[in-house]
Every structure is written in structure tokens, then in C-alpha cells.
Symmetry: C2
Subunit: 157 residues, 2 copies
């Protein structure tokens, strides 16, 4: 628990430092493997004009680049704040062994960051969501998958 | 509807073409504004060692880079397949006016791509998820948010 506290404090420190940089919001994250930090991220949405550049996504990209793999097995992800649905989805894709976070979504909401709307939307079927969503299936809709199924050199991921 | 079909077929074409490239899975996406394609993306998870490099995320990043903004208001996102939770979260953050997709998640599952597990997990509270998740709140947990609240030059996003 002491090690968790050390790393979560570091994620919080990164989050705080990011504010006056003007690069994005007050969020920081780390990826740790065997007690060693292998990836760092802070929110860069504004600096990069990239709405996906949340701290957790940035830390995951950094760690994956550093280890040369797209999964983070046996890693722990530390985030200064409870992840939004996008980041939680990204975390699941990387298959870490644990997630540790500090501030809860309700704390973030006090500073104007409210993810609860997106959490509620994702939980609805697409025809119930506020985002108008249309499903169109031309004859070719399964071709990409059939090509994948038939392709002998594929690397399942 | 005819215009939707034209763009969704193009997203499917990108998805199919991506398979023999070996760069990633059979997924393609477009961002369209006023009938013009402003962003393209295909799955690059393997090529980039980036688990967040799904087609929709890549198309969003491309469009945002091209227009120099982190939101995609008045845009339509076309995807060859129903977005996973990470991509749907990313789509919500960009605030497009519509989402159009071709293959459904059940079609993707036939080719070995099953997002339903992550959808179910995201819908649970963190203490109910398979991913071990710990909430640790050191004294400093709210400092990043307080710094953001107090920072007069902030750009809300």
C-alpha cells in the first residue's frame, strides 16, 4: 500500500504541474511494472488538439512505445483521477493487472469535469442515445472481416 | 441516405485494405464535414504498438489535426463497425452531430473481435469489475483540481 501511495502521489504531482503548462486539464497518470515507472502521461488535449490525449491514454501510449508492445500485462496503471469511459476502455484493451486512482468522478465534477453523462450514454443501446446513430449495412459490410478471417498471415491482437 | 452509403462504403473499403497491410485489424473510419472527408483512420494497433490506435480514434486524431481543433462539431463519423467503448467515449468527447456504422458488434465477434465484455465491465462499479481497482486518496488528491479552479488563464475544454 505504501508503494501504491508513492506512485499515486507522483501521478497527482504530474496532474498539478500540468495546469500552468496550459497543455490540458489537471490530470496525470503512470504505468508501473515491477516497481518501475515505464510510462508517464498528462492531459494534452489543448496542446495537441487531440481529444483522445487524456492522461491515461498518454501514459499507455508512452509505456507501449517504451516496451515495444501494445499490451501492458503485469503492469499497474496509476491515475490522479477515476478514468473516463474512453480511458477505461483503453485500460481494458491493454490488460494491466491493476488500476489505482485518487480523485473520484464526483471530485472531478466539482472542477467542471463530468464524465457521468458519457458513462450513462454508453450504457444505452445506440437507438436510445442522444448522439444520432444510424446503422447502414451495404452488401460489403462483412468483407473486411472475411478478408481478416481468410488472411493467413494475421497476427491476432 | 445515399451520401451516408457512399461514405460508409469508403470506410469499409479502408477497413478491407488495411488487412493485408499488416498494420492492424479490419477496421476503417472517416470524419466528414459538409460532405467533405476531413479525417481518415484505420486500425494501427500492431504497426504503432498503440492499443488506442483504433480506426475511429485515428480518424478523430487526423481530423482534429487537419482542422486545428479538439472538437468535431457539425461532423459525421463513419465507421466500418460499431465502435468499442473506448472509441465511443472518444466520439462523445469530440461532440459530432452523428455516427454512422456498418457491421454490428455481433458481426465483429464472428471474426474474433468481441467488445461486449468491455461494455459489460464499464457498466459496473469499480469494486465489481474483474480489473482489480483501488481508490487511494492522499491529502493532495484535490490539489490538481484546486489549482485548475484557481488558475485564471485556464481554457475550459
Amino acid at each position: 500500500m505504501q508503494e501504491h501511495e508513492k506512485f499515486i502521489k507522483e501521478a497527482i504531482r504530474l496532474a498539478k504541474e500540468n495546469v500552468p503548462s496550459g497543455k490540458g486539464g489537471p490530470f496525470g497518470a503512470l504505468v508501473v511494472r515491477n516497481g518501475e515507472i515505464i510510462g508517464r502521461g498528462v492531459n494534452h488535449v489543448i496542446a495537441n488538439n487531440d481529444p483522445t490525449a487524456h492522461a491515461e491514454v498518454m501514459a499507455i501510449r508512452d509505456a507501449c512505445k517504451n516496451i515495444g508492445h501494445y499490451q501492458l500485462q503485469n503492469c499497474i496503471i496509476y491515475s490522479s483521477c477515476e478514468p473516463c469511459p474512453m480511458c477505461l476502455g483503453a485500460i481494458y484493451w491493454t490488460r494491466p493487472k491493476m488500476l489505482v486512482f485518487a480523485a473520484e468522478n464526483t471530485d472531478a465534477a466539482k472542477a467542471g469535469f463530468d464524465d457521468s453523462y458519457i458513462y450513462k450514454q454508453i450504457n444505452l443501446s445506440f437507438d436510445q442515445r442522444d448522439l444520432p446513430t444510424v446503422n447502414i449495412k451495404p452488401d460489403s459490410f462483412f468483407l473486411p472481416f472475411q478478408t481478416w478471417i481468410d488472411w493467413e498471415k494475421k497476427q491476432p491482437y
